[in-house]
């Protein structure tokens, strides 16, 4: 009834490794594809968008309140960073600066997400090229 495991690496283990790597590559192309030009920052709190601005916007600090907490974001053309937050975990500050499309800063207690997105035209033109 209980299958006793093979204790030494077997050839078929490589199939599992290959499957995981393929999945990683597939996800990587899906989420990292598209060059990061014209980044847009999208801020959501509790699933609802509360702010959206291009990263090329004037540099400076932006303050958000979400879930009873206050977060301060430092915005500059080369990225965004949460510099101050009164949330208990401080994960959002520890994330540091994000600068590429798809990257995000998450504050779980505040249910706050700050996400960078590249222009969508890059992805759609890529699809057109494949179809055509």
């Amino acid at each position: 009834m209980k299958p006793f495991p093979e204790l030494r690496p077997a050839p078929w283990d490589l199939a599992v490794v290959a499957a995981v790597l393929t999945l990683a590559l597939f996800c990587g192309v899906m989420v990292w594809g598209g060059a990061a030009t014209g980044l847009t920052a999208i801020v959501t709190a509790d699933g609802e968008e509360i702010d959206r601005f291009p990263l090329s916007a004037p540099a400076g600090e932006r303050t958000y309140s979400a879930g009873g907490y206050t977060l301060t974001a430092d915005v500059s053309p080369d990225g965004i960073q949460i510099t101050a937050s009164d949330c208990p975990t401080q994960d959002c500050i520890r994330t540091g600066r994000i600068s590429r499309s798809g990257q995000s800063i998450v504050c779980l207690p505040a249910r706050f997400i700050l996400r960078l997105e590249g222009k969508t035209e890059i992805n759609s033109s890529g699809v057109d090229a494949v179809i055509g």
Binding site: K2, A10, V20, C27, M30, V106
Partner: protein, 171 residues
């Protein structure tokens, strides 16, 4: 499911060990590479792999639920429960399936389980946050899962080798 006193004792012991490992993984600064709060390495999968082979899928799932429930009670929040349950159940489902395949060693089963664990955790993060943002970190996490899976396999292989000379596995 009817458990003998010995089985119940082993289950309780393994649950405690899984909780210990869950706590231990807080020491690894995974949040530096994957800044999605709640996502964990999945060291408790060592116990899951061991339980799956030594006790069978039924008791392995029992230990998993006990670990997730107690772990979130200690952590004191509901999202910890969702994260560990999603990760744990995905891993256990995949490993149960893989363990029936011939030609796979404990390493392959562990690696598959670790990958499934991380997919489950990202799914939990997307659900909790109502956003697909955490998906960005899945490729990195899948790479990490090959390492944790290999480590899990190694630890379990050593465990089973040690137990081969006892009559534990014969129940």
């Amino acid at each position: 499911m009817k458990l003998t006193t010995k089985e119940l004792t082993v289950c309780a012991l393994l649950t405690a060990m899984a909780l210990g490992l869950s706590y231990l993984e807080n020491l690894f600064p995974l949040s530096l590479a994957v800044p999605v709060p709640g996502v964990k390495l999945g060291l408790a999968n060592i116990v899951a792999v061991f339980a799956l082979y030594a006790l069978g899928a039924g008791q392995a799932f029992l230990i998993l639920f006990a670990r997730c429930l107690l772990g979130s009670v200690f952590a004191g929040n509901m999202s910890a429960f969702i994260f560990s349950l999603f990760g744990g159940v995905s891993a256990m489902a995949v490993m149960t399936l893989l363990s029936h395949l011939r030609g796979l060693s404990v390493y392959g089963v562990s690696a598959g389980g670790a990958a499934a664990h991380n997919c489950g955790q990202i799914a939990a993060a997307m659900l909790t946050l109502g956003s697909t943002a955490p998906l960005y970190y899945l490729p990195v996490l899948l790479g990490v899962s090959l390492l944790t899976g290999g480590l899990t396999g190694l630890v379990c292989a050593c465990l089973f080798r040690g137990l081969a000379s006892t009559n534990f596995m014969k129940g």
